[in-house]
């Protein structure tokens, strides 16, 4: 997607348990929080592992590959930061490692988006502090 030029793009606060996620995206490699004991991944980050209840956590690099699990095409009313690019796509991507992310596809015409489409990470900066984990289509 084109960089947003309108002011006030919604952004993460870069605080708390989520901060490492966004720091890793900005560095170009997607990381997902995992249990320090049993290794189960979870997203969004949480203080405990739902499988073993450990509070040990670490951030694991993931492949950035996945598939389109669902998609929509957004028309007004939308957030003001997105007003100039309607209609735009929004997707849910399932990473091959399992976790799901809400995101957008870059460089895919709206009428070519399909559930099951293989995708890979396409990190897009929105400014010096924040980059978003978007995705691009890859060959099956």
């Amino acid at each position: 997607m084109d960089p947003v030029t309108t002011a006030e793009h919604p952004r993460p606060a870069l605080t708390g348990a989520a901060a490492p996620f966004w720091e890793h995206v900005r560095s170009g490699v997607l990381h997902i929080q995992a249990c320090g004991q049993c290794g189960a991944m979870r997203h969004p980050p949480r203080p405990r592992c739902a499988r073993c209840h450990s509070d040990d956590r670490r951030w694991l690099p993931v492949s950035g590959r996945g598939e389109v699990w669902s998609y929509t095409v957004c028309h007004p009313p939308v957030l003001s930061a997105y007003a100039e690019r309607v209609p735009y796509n929004a997707v849910v991507v399932r990473l091959v490692e399992g976790p799901f992310l809400v995101s957008n596809l870059v460089d895919v015409p709206l009428d070519e988006i399909e559930v099951g489409m293989p995708v890979e990470l396409a990190v897009e900066p929105i400014d010096a502090d924040v980059s978003l984990p978007r995705f691009r289509r890859v060959a099956r």
Binding site: P10, A13, V78, V102, S103
Partner: protein, 400 residues
């Protein structure tokens, strides 16, 4: 089980009340709640001061104590709220019934009041006036940071992503949701209290503007001002009041992920057959407790923030097989008078009003009293459920 337990008094709905449903009424939520509560008490034929329990949704703006002080409710001894917004639609009745069954209260009111007209905001709360996503701010520390930066902020967009998955897994069509929109607008056209009195066709639905594919404007719930209240008491006491009581045959809550956190939603949902959880786990217990089955239900009020929720809910509670909700709706099954299971006969949230589903409860009561504007002949059993995209619950109601 002892006879004493079997003889435990159960709960009945004895009064329903509502304000006018309209945009820009210029009245705050407390004002609307008071009118609805007093109307429900008048319907029941009891003094509001007899209320000793108050239940509502966690998104409710009216504080229980404010309501009590305004109406002189000086014997409140049970107060509780349900988790999630529309998920609580039926659960508030379950909370009230549980309080009555436990002896924690004798007379409980469930209420919801909203002031959501775009030009009449009485407060700066996220759930007051205008569109919540327009008030979200742009620096997000909570779960909105996983949605808003990608332009996903409106409930329609979140529900579109859930609906699209259902379409991909089961072959459901947008037109199936449209069929429910059209049926509800027909029901609304017959209901003088409804906001939308004009009947629409499937062609009108298809011509209504896209909001978030596959959701169109006519699939969406309405935004306006309103208050609704429902009064319950024990069944033995209910017989002495003004109106024929409606029994709470069974009630139950269920957990489940919520649409405002879609990464967790898709990891944990049972909507697409991944597992038996949430409403599908509740359903057999609910029917068992009610002593009836889905086939015995005469009329259903299904939470419908967007019409896609109707077929998905009907699948989870066993009115049709998993994946068959779309064709079931499109067959006309949910349309009064000829459908086998008329759904949202008051017009639902796209036709009558949107109060996180609490306006669906009075319609179930009217059906069991024989007073609906789209009356199902000799309706004996009604089903009401909360949002399928939230932690939710359901109640089964019956004529006493």
């Amino acid at each position: 089980m002892t006879a004493a337990v079997l003889a435990q008094p159960d709960a009945a709905i004895v009064g329903i009340g509502q304000t006018r449903f309209a945009k820009n009424m210029g009245r705050d939520e407390l004002d609307l709640a008071c009118e609805a509560v007093l109307a429900a008490c008048a319907d029941a034929g009891l003094d509001a001061r007899e209320i000793d329990g108050v239940v509502s949704y966690h998104v409710e703006q009216v504080d229980e104590i404010d309501l009590g002080s305004t109406l002189g409710l000086d014997r409140l001894r049970f107060m509780a709220r349900t988790p999630s917004g529309g998920g609580g639609a039926a659960s508030v009745i379950g909370l009230a019934a549980a309080a009555l069954e436990a002896g924690a209260a004798d007379c409980v009111v469930a209420f919801r009041a909203r002031n959501r007209s775009k030009t009449a905001s009485y407060g700066e709360g996220i759930n007051q006036g205008g569109r919540p996503w327009a008030k979200a701010g742009t620096v997000l520390a909570d779960s909105r940071q996983w949605h808003h930066p990608f332009g996903v902020a409106a409930p329609a967009q979140e529900m579109a992503l859930i609906a699209r998955r259902h379409m991909a897994v089961f072959g459901t069509l947008a037109e199936h949701f449209g069929a429910q929109a059209v049926a509800q607008r027909f029901h609304a056209s017959r209901n003088p209290a409804a906001l939308m009195r004009t009947e629409v066709t499937i062609e009108d639905w298809a011509a209504s503007r896209p909001i978030a594919d596959p959701i169109r404007l006519f699939d969406c719930s309405l935004e306006h001002d309103a208050g609704v209240a429902i009064v319950l008491t024990r069944r033995d006491r209910a017989r002495d009041l003004a109106r024929r009581p409606v029994r709470v045959l069974a009630h139950g809550q269920c957990d489940g992920p919520i649409h405002v956190d879609l990464p967790t939603f898709f990891a944990e949902t049972a909507l697409f057959g991944e597992r038996v959880a949430g409403a599908r786990l509740l359903a057999p217990d609910l029917w068992g407790a009610a002593g009836v089955q889905a086939d015995d239900v005469d009329v259903a009020m299904v939470f419908d923030h967007f019409t896609m929720a109707v077929p998905l809910s009907l699948e989870q509670y066993g009115f049709c097989d998993l994946g068959e909700g779309g064709p079931f709706v499109a067959s006309g099954a949910t349309r009064w008078p000829d459908g086998s299971l008329p759904v949202n006969t008051h017009g639902g949230s796209n036709g009558e009003a949107f109060l996180h589903g609490l306006n669906h409860l009075p319609e179930a009561v009217r059906q069991l009293r024989g007073e609906s504007t789209s009356q199902v002949a000799d309706a004996q059993v009604a089903f009401v459920c909360g949002s399928i995209t939230d932690p939710a619950g359901a109640v089964v109601l019956g004529r006493d």
